[in-house]
Amino acid sequence: MATVSTDTDSGVLSDADLRWVKRKEVLFHATLFLASVFGVAMLGLLVFDVLFETAVGVLVLGIDVTTFLTSGASRDWERAGFLPAIIGSVWLVLLTLIFSFFLGVSTATYLEEYAPNTRTVRLIEANLTNLAGVPSVVYGLLALGVFVNGLRLGSILLAGSIALALLVVPIVIVASQEALRAVPSGVRDGSLATGATRWQTVRGVVLPAALPGIVTGTILALARAIGETAPLIMVGAVLQARQTPDPFSLFGSMPTMIYYWAFRPITEFHNLAALGILVLLTILVGMYGVAFFVRNRYERRL
């Protein structure tokens, strides 16, 4: 840490010293650059691996993409498909959106616009950062203990979406808080000065201004939810999704299906998993795209 260079201790810098300083500089720069490129390279390898395994599956093994996208799980890899898993994930994300959006935005609004700066409120905020760090599998245990077996709902899709909603609510709250904080206080004061109540100010002025940020944050939170596997397995998701689920039936999802395929020893299923991952990643890229579009298109500086 405190390595003050000894090169300069001789008093006068000679050319040799400077050359060593320069060489060290170049070496250090190169090391740091390589380290930051490492992550990017790994991301590239990961995408390449998924594409390669998919290509092998489709071109060499002859997995039929149409069958894959239109049928359910099967013991034969030739007839196995992803459709119930996709629909399960769509349901999960929709319900997660409903549960987490209002809860998250309401909480953020309370904390930013209403809450006095008391001990209790600070405790609530500290609790929030802690909740964001709870492992996802624990949220699955919570849903398993309370909803699946406590309230005897059984391993239904609704219980899975509650687990996901609880998991992403802290993310929605933090994103919404940031968006609300970015609204200048002059805007609020202007509204309050016209005689509007706090709620009228929040509903009519602050929330509309913060909406793009809130929407972006919510989409990113949902992108997290759609890739979550562990909580769904804990809730009791069906790993081999054969039938199209509804909110009150047993369910599978894209990530749990991928897990099941990747876990099987028969290698053809790994190619199916790669194809499933490709579908999942495509949807994720789409969600990120929408999020950035919303941010760039609608976010105005006030």
Partner: protein, 339 residues
């Protein structure tokens, strides 16, 4: 704070309407507070569910069942202990489904989690810190604009995909050929590949948060060092790093906490064989992997296997809780330094 408008409703607003508005405002305030308290309720619910069911792991009934039974019968109902706490904490075997002699020594699972977490830290901490230094001190504005979001994409990839990457690429293509040069063989599931992928997925956490801390270091400090003739290397290592060390440390804790709770990548990469070992080529089972693989075979409610999920979950939750609290503490101190 919110009563600014009550004293004078102003022209055109009758007192009645203003009063109704105020009443609505108070109602909304209460509803919003209700939503906020759900977050606190979630934490309480996690604690209660884990503790209640862990009680049911050690005894033949969960705490709530026992309480209800005792209250309804107006006597303190007896409890039969199923597992000794000492066995849970100190036994070196974890074999819950063994027919004759099932053993529940959590150490085996904890050691696997710790092993992978430490290995992942060896990947993510040096690489993440170096990337952060590069982004904050060396990269041009343009490079930074593209490099940082690209690195952050790594954190957005679902962990199940990392698990797939570990078994289909890291182990067979990267690790096996290298290890074979040294005459070592490696199975499909191994600790090393789990370390690598968990390390990769936590790089962006370290890089991103450390970089924020480094950028918060005032330029005056850098300029002072440059004025003394320091090179960029010296400024980076002797000025920026020490000045942002608490923020950097917070990012390490966060990465560790994330690695402890990591589930799917570890389940796929490291396997499902509980082993008490420090051998990075072995197949092990972490706490999270135990939970997921046990749920696969749907354990019946009340059975010792089912209850063990919560006991393991409690240990996992406490470990991440401690990490998060340390992180909180460091972050609060760090904020004070630069305000």
């Amino acid at each position: 704070m919110s009563t600014d408008a009550t004293t004078d409703p102003g022209p055109g607003i009758t007192g009645d309407v203003a009063a109704a508005d105020q009443r609505r405002d108070r109602l909304i305030r209460r509803v919003l507070f209700g939503c906020t308290s759900i977050t606190v309720l979630t934490t309480i619910a996690i604690f209660v569910v884990l503790l209640d069911n862990t009680w049911g792991f050690f005894f033949d009934a969960t705490f709530s069942q026992w309480l209800v039974r005792s209250v309804t019968s107006l006597t303190v109902e007896g409890l039969t202990q199923r597992i000794a706490v000492t066995e849970f904490l100190f036994d070196t075997e974890w074999r819950p489904s063994h027919a004759d002699d099932p053993r529940f020594g959590i150490m085996t699972l904890v050691s696997a989690t710790v092993l992978i977490t430490v290995g992942a830290a060896f990947v993510s901490i040096p690489i993440g810190t170096a990337a952060a230094l590069y982004l904050s001190e060396y990269a041009s504005v343009r490079t930074r604009k593209y490099l940082k979001p690209t690195l952050e994409v790594l954190a957005g990839v679902p962990t199940i995909v990392y698990g797939f990457f570990a078994v289909s690429f890291v182990t067979p293509v990267l690790l096996r050929p290298v290890l074979e040069l040294f005459g070592l063989s490696i199975g499909r599931n191994n600790v090393l590949s789990a370390m690598v992928v968990v390390g990769i997925m936590t790089i962006p956490m370290v890089a991103s948060i450390s970089e924020d801390a480094m950028r918060a270091v005032p330029d005056d400090l850098r300029n002072g060092a440059y004025a003394l003739g320091a090179s960029k290397y010296e400024v980076s290592t002797s000025v920026v790093l020490p000045a942002s060390i608490s923020g950097i440390f917070a990012s390490y804790i966060l990465a560790v906490s994330r690695a402890i709770g990591e589930t799917m990548a570890v389940t796929l990469a490291a396997g499902a064989t509980p082993t008490l070992t420090a051998n990075p080529l072995a197949e092990v089972q972490t706490m999270t992997a135990y939970m997921v693989t046990t749920m696969r075979s749907t354990a019946g409610v009340g059975s010792i296997t089912y209850q063990s999920l919560f006991a393991v979950g409690l240990v996992l939750f406490l470990m991440t809780l401690v990490a998060n609290l340390i992180n909180d503490y460091i972050k609060r101190r760090y904020r004070e330094v630069y305000r």
